[in-house]
């Protein structure tokens, strides 16, 4: 049995989680997921400004902080902290933790190969809209292939203490230690599916161990010291989801079921670079306090294509807010919204979308048809939140100057403008596409 813990569900997750996973009990592998779909484009921009950047900068100091404990106890780390510059990340890790052996996985970054792919006739159509990539070629900000567990396992096979990858899938981080230690083969579909689903369960950190859980959430104990999840994996593909003894939170079939369904599409066809996992075959049961046992998982052959994560510039947006107070806060906020829209029209400005929310009344899901807002509601205060987006940056910038004047020249009772006018932000949109698997060749480099 090996213990694989996830200490980071996204870049920005709790800084203490990986440290506590190491300090509060036994683990063999610590996996850290840093990359969301849009993160790659931010990192690509950082790399363009400074060739030594483009990775998750929280990662090297974390490894520096943990280095002695990792070495003393033989804990291996697998992370996709490399972003668009895994080599620079690895060198920064070595600088922070000189005694460790670091392996880097190359090959996922295809930003420089887009024209080569287009010339070969790959249209890389948007999997959602069907549009060909050529329609946004000039606006591409980053392009990476999702790579699976086998390149990461190959990196662990080198005896590295730390494996730094770029755009690996979230689930591959957890599956890779199993492939490495159990010798699973590329056609062990059921076992690969089991490790993939184990990865899906822990890839969002504490979201399977009590965080964001609806069932009896008030009674989930000691959330200030919530235990991040640990997989106890067996060579036959069965596993237990648990957390360190004495930590807060809860691991229960309720918490694990919620996470199994998180960001799920067709449950019979969960497609990864390693296999296709079938979530309808999962058998789970509560086998002890904070222990959920999982067996029975089946999988099928991996696809012949890999998914590309491409980001591109898609215009500009700004979102501004003002607060209106009682009495008549709803009517005042609605009047202010009308005034802003009329002034934008008078200025001759047009946008792809203007979106208004009355925050406190309808921001999350609005007055749903079966639950209409009571007509006489008059809350003590209400936040007016107006957002615009469009491809003309000047128009979006002009909009940001239209909110604060309302404090003096609009309906009474406006406040909450202390942050000044809102920032104009570039919209970085996501373009999922497919590429034949044989086009992506990964390579492991050991740095020490």
């Amino acid at each position: 049995m090996i213990r694989i813990a996830n200490g980071q569900g996204f870049w920005g997750d709790w800084l203490e989680a990986p440290v506590r996973l190491v300090d509060q009990g036994p683990i063999d592998f610590l996996v850290l997921d840093y990359l969301a779909e849009v993160t790659m484009s931010i990192l690509q921009k950082q790399k363009q400004e400074d060739p030594a950047l483009g990775y998750a900068r929280d990662f090297p100091p974390l490894i520096g902080r943990l280095a002695k404990k990792l070495k003393d106890r033989g804990i291996k780390v697998v992370a996709n902290a490399g972003g668009v510059n895994p080599a620079a990340c690895a060198h920064a890790v070595l600088k922070a933790a000189p005694g460790l052996k670091v392996a880097v996985v190359h090959g996922d970054n295809v930003f420089e190969r887009i024209d080569e792919f287009l010339a070969k006739g790959y249209e890389m159509r948007d999997m959602d809209t069907g549009h060909p990539l050529s329609s946004i070629r000039e606006r591409i900000l980053s392009a990476n292939a999702y790579i699976g567990a086998f390149p990461l396992a190959e990196a662990l096979d080198t005896g590295a203490d730390i494996v730094v990858a770029g755009r690996s899938t979230d689930t591959a981080l957890t599956l890779a230690p199993m492939v490495h230690r159990f010798g699973w083969q590329p056609d062990d579909w059921d076992k690969l599916a089991a490790g993939t689903i184990a990865g899906h369960i822990i890839e969002c950190g504490a979201q399977c161990s009590g965080g964001n859980c609806q069932v009896d959430w008030e009674k989930i104990p000691n959330m200030s010291d919530v235990g991040y999840p640990i997989i106890e994996a067996e060579p036959d593909g069965s596993f237990v989801v648990t957390k360190h003894a004495g930590t807060g939170g809860r691991v229960h079939t309720d918490t694990v079921k919620e996470q199994l369904l998180y960001e799920l599409g067709d449950p019979k066809n969960y497609i990864t670079p390693d296999c296709i996992a079938d979530f309808t075959t999962v058998r789970l049961s509560d086998i002890g306090p904070d222990r959920v046992g999982i067996t029975g998982i089946r999988g099928g052959p991996r696809p012949e294509t890999l998914k590309l994560s491409i980001s591109y510039s898609d215009g500009w947006k700004a979102i501004g807010t003002l607060v209106y107070s009682w009495p008549g806060s709803v009517a005042k906020a609605r009047a202010a919204d009308r005034i802003v829209r009329e002034r934008l029209v008078a200025l001759g400005l047009t946008f792809d979308e203007i979106h208004t929310e009355l925050f406190g009344l309808n921001a999350c899901f609005g007055p749903l048809p079966n639950n209409a807002t009571p007509p006489n509601i008059d809350p003590p205060e209400l936040q007016l939140r107006i957002g615009v987006r469009g491809h003309d940056r000047k128009a979006v910038d002009r909009f940001t100057r239209e909110l604060i004047p309302l404090v003096l020249n609009g309906p009474p009772g406006a406040t909450g403008f202390g942050e000044g006018r809102p920032a104009v932000r570039e919209i970085v949109a996501y373009w999922p596409a497919l590429i034949p698997r044989h086009e992506i060749e990964t390579r492991v480099e050991v740095i020490s």
Binding site: L264, F359, L368, A429
Partner: protein, 103 residues
Amino acid sequence: MKVPLAFVAHTRSGDKGDTSNIGVIALKPEYYATILREVTPARVKDFFGDLVQGPVERFELPNLGAINLLLHHALGGGGTVSLRTDAQGKTYGAALLRMEIEI
């Protein structure tokens, strides 16, 4: 008798692009049949109204006593494009718990 879905289920929701998914899980195994009967794509589409611009798909996971709903074109463009507070549909699962069902 009519009750809110919250009486028999818990949920978790999230996003993939402009599609929101809602996992609906029976609080007890015996409630699963009720969920299958009551939480149909047509009912869910009707419940969310204009918020969901595309179709609603439903997948069954009897092993978990759960269904997975995909609400297409439901997030104002999704991801970084969306101007909504809840651009990722994190609260859609909780919203659905208010839907009235027959038990």
